[in-house]
Subunit: 342 residues, 4 copies
Amino acid sequence: MGQKIKVGVIGAGRIGKLHTENLVAHFPMVQVKSVADPFADKVRDWAEGLGIQVLTDNYKDIINDAEIDAVLVCSSTDTHADISIEAAKAGKHIFCEKPVDLTVAKINEAVEAVKEAGVKFQVGFNRRFDHNFKKVREVVKEGKIGEVQIVKITSRDPEPPPAQYVQVSGGIFLDMTIHDFDMARYLSGSEVEEVYVTGAVLVDPAIGEAGDIDTAIISLKFENGAIGVIDNSRKAAYGYDQRVEVFGSKGKVLVSNDTDTSAIVSTADGVFSDKPKYFFLERYQGSFIEEMKDFFEAIIEDKKPPVVAIDGLKPVLIALAAKKSLVEGRPVTLKEIEKENF
Amino acid sequence: MGQKIKVGVIGAGRIGKLHTENLVAHFPMVQVKSVADPFADKVRDWAEGLGIQVLTDNYKDIINDAEIDAVLVCSSTDTHADISIEAAKAGKHIFCEKPVDLTVAKINEAVEAVKEAGVKFQVGFNRRFDHNFKKVREVVKEGKIGEVQIVKITSRDPEPPPAQYVQVSGGIFLDMTIHDFDMARYLSGSEVEEVYVTGAVLVDPAIGEAGDIDTAIISLKFENGAIGVIDNSRKAAYGYDQRVEVFGSKGKVLVSNDTDTSAIVSTADGVFSDKPKYFFLERYQGSFIEEMKDFFEAIIEDKKPPVVAIDGLKPVLIALAAKKSLVEGRPVTLKEIEKENF
Amino acid sequence: MGQKIKVGVIGAGRIGKLHTENLVAHFPMVQVKSVADPFADKVRDWAEGLGIQVLTDNYKDIINDAEIDAVLVCSSTDTHADISIEAAKAGKHIFCEKPVDLTVAKINEAVEAVKEAGVKFQVGFNRRFDHNFKKVREVVKEGKIGEVQIVKITSRDPEPPPAQYVQVSGGIFLDMTIHDFDMARYLSGSEVEEVYVTGAVLVDPAIGEAGDIDTAIISLKFENGAIGVIDNSRKAAYGYDQRVEVFGSKGKVLVSNDTDTSAIVSTADGVFSDKPKYFFLERYQGSFIEEMKDFFEAIIEDKKPPVVAIDGLKPVLIALAAKKSLVEGRPVTLKEIEKENF
Amino acid sequence: MGQKIKVGVIGAGRIGKLHTENLVAHFPMVQVKSVADPFADKVRDWAEGLGIQVLTDNYKDIINDAEIDAVLVCSSTDTHADISIEAAKAGKHIFCEKPVDLTVAKINEAVEAVKEAGVKFQVGFNRRFDHNFKKVREVVKEGKIGEVQIVKITSRDPEPPPAQYVQVSGGIFLDMTIHDFDMARYLSGSEVEEVYVTGAVLVDPAIGEAGDIDTAIISLKFENGAIGVIDNSRKAAYGYDQRVEVFGSKGKVLVSNDTDTSAIVSTADGVFSDKPKYFFLERYQGSFIEEMKDFFEAIIEDKKPPVVAIDGLKPVLIALAAKKSLVEGRPVTLKEIEKENF
């Protein structure tokens, strides 16, 4: 198998830990050499259990380690771009969690740095690697449903985030819907051209007071002529609701929620089946492994990663258009947002 | 059982025939005495087979027949209101096919005439009587899913109408979506307040040339704070697609398409199941009987019919708002439409 | 339409009433002229409401009425054969409820009488006309699943009959499973050759005391080499469970229960859907109409009815084999039963 | 984490490799130190890739290695018992693939050796650890469906084994149905008391010539009064069919096949969904990991393993009863088999 690829993980929060564990368990050709986290002590036991050689509270130790081939940027959102730029300059391949940044300028800076350094740069839109959504994309791509006409995405969380998180998250569009914007592009195979938002605060007044909404219907126009709609809620009582449907000139394809089991229980009280898998860690478990597979394959075979820099930028632009649409109560074109940001 | 209720059917096209046959087959307390149709000769055999006593090409023969207790107005849309007014003045109870008219003024005129005459007036929004949608409404009404937050309606036809029909139909919103607008009011238990349309011509360029669209996503705001979305296509390759979903603070309820059988065939080629029932006559077969049941019950027990005059007016107002939204590329409030029309 | 076919209904219990109502509602070319029932007074209002001309407590009034073209034999099981024989001798076409009789000798006598008279004779195995099971038969017949290898039938009632009925019914096999034996023949397109029963009394000890069982697994061997299994229970807490599956060399086809609606309700408590339609009147509603359609079509077009005398006999033979298998704890061939009975 | 548990894998065929890979990927507290296989050279690259220290063609190298704490016996069936006995004598904990042996005497010998040595002994009935079947068992155990009355198991393979394998496998009951016999015990929570087989050769005449059958319906009586049925086919054209249903006094629970995705594609040609996951490696992927989890948990926490020696013996007894029933064409009790074998 030759030399292992040496990896540094920057940020050992929920998602950083998840990636690290997946690499240890499923990627014999990868060695997670180092983990950096500002609260390194809190994760010491966890890191040792996994046989991580280096644990540091300074991510620069990873950037400056000549042995490290690739980094996973799993730190807080506001540091994604800067750390990616440093990593690029140090010649590391980069897997960067989404969103790359909340501002277009920063994203572009990162994109430039990556281009200049000639390193791989993959953005963590893991849902593209979900078994269900990947299948939908394949069905669309193979032309089985003809020309895409309507894209429908349902995306509802089981629980709203704490109101204080809402304030730093950039709002529902940059925090939550951003995955759906990526999905809209991925499934349609086209760029979003215009956005119109119908929003409401129905889950938690505190979210409204924080200047955000928690329930939304987002209409989309695509460049290829198709139209689409995303519906979001911060709280679905029955759990994480993640479904998509693509309708085309020759038919439709839809996928429903994953469940833990296929059990159906019938009693005098009714017919019961499983609720959806609890939240993204459970539902998208497989997708986190698949995206790593593709990232390291891109490195090993010197291929283009499946989710590149532009894929990190576009959903942010759509989110900004959505934000503006909500505030101004009118459809907003991506052109308008691009003009404002370049 | 006492005296039978004597009914005259005005207009023996597809829907007029359907109601007549249902009354003969399922309503022993009703006698369809007369049928009027401008092309009476064409339906003579059919009428005789059903034992209809009077067949005429002049609907006034029905209006003027003192024995007739109730009329079904199944003539062409542009005559619905005028005939209803005449029937009301003659003291007949009226079941009027949708839409009552394409203009608000005419509808109001009919509503006034009905009120004055004190006769029953039911509008033919049959989908409210569909087993699936009725169940959704019940679940919502019983509070099982809490406060309504999102209403989703998918409504796609198996085949577009001929382009020449499109021109006289008043356009997709007054012809096709009008059922969905009624459904949105029915399911949410609230009035629509604002409409925004994202439309496209993706099915048939001739429809576009006739000044209409064939594919639409229609965002809705309701007075009770809920939001909603309808998606329409004039042509679903796999057949008539009629699904709804209501999402609320405590859960969701959704219904899928009806099929002829529950058969699932598994072979080396895959797993196959039935397509949806072909079109509205098949899918809504039961609903046409149920709405008659309620209409005659309202007459016999002197109750309010389940779909009254205001229910005939509101969807037309929403359709006009949708039309304006499409033309002007902005959300349009119902208030605005009402102001223009009163 | 010419002259109406005049019908006499013998026996106005649940099933006799049902057929009468269906004929009145859906068969314009049929006139139910007479109804006979030993307790005629009890059904007088019902009969008058339907416009039945003659109501009698003596079925011979129907047999002797020269105007009557066809009779429906819906009386108690022990009279089916004798009345059919009388009707045949009087030249009436006969629709006879199942089973024709509980003894082979009587059935044969009836079959002979029918043959001699040259009248139509259809047995009321209505499930063959159920939309789901008919589709399964079609799929099998069209060869879509290849050669039949395994036939599986699940048939469970929502409630056991009163123990006193159990005693006169001839036992579970002649009363309940007889439909499944017919289904096994129908779906496989082959005759049953051997039966083995595993039975138990798990629902109601009183059924055991009456000498019957209430729970059974019945293995079948077919002449064409296929094998099969029926599972029965007299009481399914969740309702009437009627499913079949046919497995063949190229695949399988299965059908599940019908429900009132397709509604799925998801809440914090789980995901709920409808229970099966309540019992045979609800589930097989359509089939009762379809079997009449075929019966009168056979009369009008002078065709062979779809369920003929042999179809009345064979399930009784299988039931007798099952009974013997249960008592003797061994597989019993149909040959053995035939030898005993001819 | 302390010292790792050192494991030797005996037999590196399909299942031995699978367990080894799972241990490497998912069990940080376990070290697969050694692998033994008669054709060690063939698996050298594979073993090195996984960092296995010792690869040998003599399983005794593992038995004699004092460092080894536990062995996985994945060799050919005829060696399971003897190797287990040797391992027990050497004080190793044992995970033994099913069946422990094809003869009762040998199994008992192994059981004795294990008891004497006081080591853990778990049998590889992995399906008990399948997410679906485990859920069924839980529902039954929690009493949600009341007293168990009927157990139904469908188990069909996608492809028959080569006829030459059939001859050494001990026949369909010991090779294939043995899993279903285990499932019947597991789901019912009771012992099988009597077996009756209806068998046929419908898939491949060569299987019949080898003295075996390829299609079977197996009726079961349980000690707790419940009854059951297993249906088997060696070849389901649509793939691996693995479903169970348990019916009880208060309801039923059933599970259907797993699929790769939930995608439903609707076109003019019909409505298509995924076939079942291909075969046992795909369908039971998770169960192989879960059974290891429980095995090592039993070692670490010194608990009773979830599938013990008696669970290795009982299904073999049932299989022998089934074999006899097929040959003699009569129901066979387990008592009879036990008497013959002790």
